[in-house]
């Protein structure tokens, strides 16, 4: 049966890549490939330091920091669960495999095989990204080390999803059958908590002395008996990556490969160990037709008055309305909105208390996330053309100009992202509210908040326009619809995409931003911080001009895009 799975995986991948490669006849795609290769060359080769750099995470800390990162990734899988994504089957796979003479174990093996495509691609990317000077083994050994690490993490996530689902669906019965996995997990969690508490004074002292001192304190704490034992398997997973010579690598690879094999056995046996196991349940869910999977879990269907759609007005507003509904109605959106509201309230109360430092830390965290959301946010919020281009047929049949479609679709994701950032900034504002000694003072913080709230929609709109532009220009290459690759396995490609996007956004913001700042500095002596008002106005004007030019161009491209091209990246 494995040969059938290999054939299916190989031919599907080959044909997909071949079809995408055929797009290179189009000069637009050819230019994009040249740009992408140049970008990879700069990242992988051109920026490598000539001498071993004085990196923050030096070789002596690499293994430990890597092990802690692996623990974080694995715990995330246990706590938040991603079984739907891990065991997601396409409708064709469901049709052919579920109705065919394939065992549940066979299906799991097939899924593991399919996940390898993503892992191999990201192993290659990481091999290029991680410069040899920092990670000692040869490129081939480095690639193998990364593959072993990512595959082990992938297996672990799948195993964790089996246990989670089994527990959620079968309660106490499953508890008995999962006792070994759960005891190990429980021991790990208790051990980690105890170790952190035990080492906290030393770590706190180290933190006060800076990052290097902190990492030294962390290394010292990790050498204590309990953390040493707990960290051993995770360090073993990372150790081949830190090996400098072939001998070191060979010694380190044995335990890492052993863990990989153990994980494989765990995942494969997880299905056979229990008749009504989580694998069965997860697969049963996947077996349900697209009808089941297409039904989103909604908070409720009644529309708030603000979201009622008038029958007449700007026609493309219907697209904006539809895309906002797609977000507003989900439980996740309501949970985030509720959490931000409660967070702002609690932060405001805490800021006046003795524990004001907690509120301040939370405030800075919120500000940091609001800022990061400018570049990371468009990866999360995708209720725009990146979702709708799969229905390009339908969009093209509407009586709307291309630029109107692009404008409305982009506005939807911009509004959602801006609302998220505004919520975070308000949490920060309230968290700092009671701190009368804080610099900058309250008045200036208020001006900063208003400036951010005024300028973020423009900046986000331009950013989302770039993201949507990429989808319109390269529908065969950009991932459209849901189910975007995520998790540690896809971290490499997602990181590269974010860095590239940040560079393009920075270039687009350069001129309007510079002009806005110039106006502010020219007026600052005259009107003080009020100079921000014309500064922001100039920034927004510049952004509007850029957006108008982009919209016109992308609208024309949208109108001339062949719908068949958009199917490829679905």
């Amino acid at each position: 049966m494995i040969r059938v799975f290999l054939y299916l995986a190989w031919r599907s991948t080959y044909n997909r890549v071949a079809r995408q490669a055929r797009q290179l006849k189009n000069p637009r795609y050819l230019a994009a490939l040249a740009f992408g290769l140049t970008y990879l060359w700069i990242v992988a080769v051109d920026q490598r330091p000539e001498h071993p750099p004085q990196v923050l995470v030096g070789a002596r800390w690499l293994e430990l920091v890597g092990a802690i990162g692996v623990i974080g990734a694995l715990l995330w899988g246990w706590i938040f669960g991603i079984e739907r994504r891990v065991l997601a089957f396409s409708p064709a796979e469901v049709t052919f495999l579920f109705s065919g003479p394939v065992t549940r174990r066979g299906l799991v093996q097939y899924k593991l095989l399919r996940n390898q495509i993503l892992i191999l691609f990201n192993s290659l990317l990481w091999t290029l990204i991680l410069a040899r000077e920092r990670f000692g083994a040869s490129p081939w050994l480095r690639a193998l080390s990364i593959w072993v690490l990512l595959t082990t993490i992938s297996f672990h996530r799948l195993g964790a999803s089996f246990v989670r689902t089994s527990l959620l669906e079968h309660g106490r019965i499953a508890l008995r059958h999962r006792v070994v996995s759960l005891v190990l997990l429980g021991a790990l969690v208790i051990g980690v908590a105890w170790s952190i508490q035990d080492a906290m004074p030393d770590l706190a002292a180290g933190w006060a002395g800076g990052l290097t001192t902190f990492l030294d304190a962390l290394t010292e704490a990790a050498e204590r008996p309990v953390p040493h034992v707990l960290l051993a398997p995770f360090r073993a997973m990372v150790r081949p990556l830190a090996a400098h010579t072939l001998g070191d690598w060979l010694r380190a690879a044995g335990p890492a490969l052993g863990l990989l094999v153990l994980h494989y056995i765990w995942v494969i046996r997880a299905d056979a160990a229990f008749e009504e196991a989580s694998a069965e349940a997860a697969l049963r869910r996947a077996r349900l037709s697209s009808r089941e999977r297409a039904t989103p879990r909604l908070a409720h269907r009644r529309l708030p008055a603000l979201l009622r759609l008038a029958p007449v007005g700007w026609p493309a507003q219907a697209l904006l309305w539809k895309n906002l509904l797609a977000v507003v109605r989900t439980r996740r959106a309501r949970n985030v909105a509720g959490a931000l509201a409660v967070g702002a309230l609690v932060a405001a109360v805490l800021s006046f208390q003795v524990q004001g430092s907690i509120a301040e830390a939370a405030g800075w965290l919120a500000v940091t996330w609001a800022g990061l959301a400018v570049v990371i946010g468009p990866q999360w919020v995708r209720n725009d053309l990146r979702s709708d281009l799969l229905k390009l047929d339908l969009l093209r049949s509407y009586p709307l100009a291309g630029r109107s479609v692009v404008a409305a679709e982009t506005a939807a994701s911009t509004l959602v992202l801006t609302a998220l950032q505004a919520g975070l900034l308000l949490v920060a504002y309230f968290a700092f509210l009671g701190n009368s000694h804080m610099e900058p003072p309250l008045g200036l913080r208020t001006v900063a908040l208003l400036t951010a709230l005024a300028s973020l929609p423009g900046i986000n709109y331009l950013g989302m326009l770039i993201q949507n532009g990429a989808a319109i220009l390269f529908p065969a290459w950009v991932h459209l619809g849901g189910g975007r690759p995520g998790g540690v396995e896809a971290l490499g490609q997602n990181m590269l995409i974010i860095v590239a996007y940040s560079a393009v956004l920075a270039a687009a913001l350069a001129l309007p931003g510079t002009l806005g700042l110039l106006v502010f500095y020219l007026l600052r002596d005259e009107v003080g911080w009020w100079g921000l008002v014309p500064g922001v106005a100039v920034l927004l004007l510049g952004l509007a001009i850029e957006a108008a030019v982009l919209l016109g161009w992308l609208g024309r491209v949208f109108e001339s895009t062949d719908p068949a091209a958009a199917d490829v990246a679905a």
Partner: protein, 245 residues
């Protein structure tokens, strides 16, 4: 209402549609028939403004689809064989959405009647994921009919419908045509074409093989006299040497 002149669509070296010309007047139902790969869907999608033709002109209500796409599209409705619906909109919200796109001011009064006509009244607040294949198709049809299009393009409209739905759908198409809509209906169901189409366009390999009423087509080929539409269709698209005795 619908004028197609010299329509051609080329995919690389492959000509999907070659030199197609025809008109559909208000009140007419033109049946588009032909074997798989004949170019029916490409033709209908070109008229809907989804595909850009390689050559030729398409006019809807006098508006050139290439030069005035928004005006032309506002007069037509395209109902594909596979219903494309938005997963987060209920049945009624789909209609409100389409109402705004086509600026239907009296959408509130039109929606109940349309839902009733297509047997969707009980599914007003259902999401697409909660609808059967046939119900989804009915909803897609309702969306197409909401703005009372002057030109109606239907690609295999009966796919997934139950016998009651098929009967209602046929009546709906006829009623819209009687109300003055120009209808193009692409289907492999020859009995449907025979029953409700006023004229037939037979396509093969992207070209027109025959066009006119069934009587016109038979008149131009006396050998086909007295035969059923299915036989006529097979005779038109199959070379003589391949025909069954």
């Amino acid at each position: 209402m619908i004028q197609v002149e010299g329509l051609e669509k080329q995919y690389g070296d492959f000509p999907a549609v070659r030199g197609l010309s025809f008109t559909v007047q208000p009140g007419e139902v033109l049946g588009l028939v032909g074997p798989n790969g004949a170019g029916k869907t490409t033709t209908i999608r070109s008229i809907a403004g989804i595909i850009i033709p390689t050559r030729g002109t398409i006019r809807i209500g006098g508006f050139d689809l290439a030069a005035q796409p928004v005006s032309a599209k506002s007069l037509l409705a395209f109902i594909p064989d596979e219903p494309h619906l938005f997963e987060y909109l209920t049945a009624e919200e789909h209609l409100r959405f389409v109402g705004r796109l086509y600026q239907v001011a009296d959408v509130d009064t039109r929606i109940p009647g349309l839902l009733e006509e297509l047997d969707l009244a009980q599914k007003r607040t259902a999401l697409p994921g909660e609808l059967s294949r046939g119900m989804k198709q009915k909803l897609a049809i309702a969306c197409g009919l909401l703005h009372s299009p002057a030109a109606l393009l239907l690609d295999e409209p009966l796919t997934g419908l139950d016998p009651v739905g098929i009967r209602r759908m046929k009546a709906t198409i006829v009623r819209r045509a009687e109300a003055g809509a120009a209808v193009i209906l692409s289907s492999h169901l020859l009995h449907l074409v025979e029953e409700i189409c006023t004229r037939v366009l037979v396509m093969n390999a992207g070209q027109t093989v025959a066009i006119g009423t069934v009587a016109d087509i038979v008149a131009s080929r006396p050998a086909l006299s007295g035969r059923r539409l299915e036989d006529i269709f097979l005779a038109l698209i199959t070379p003589e040497r391949d025909q069954q005795p």
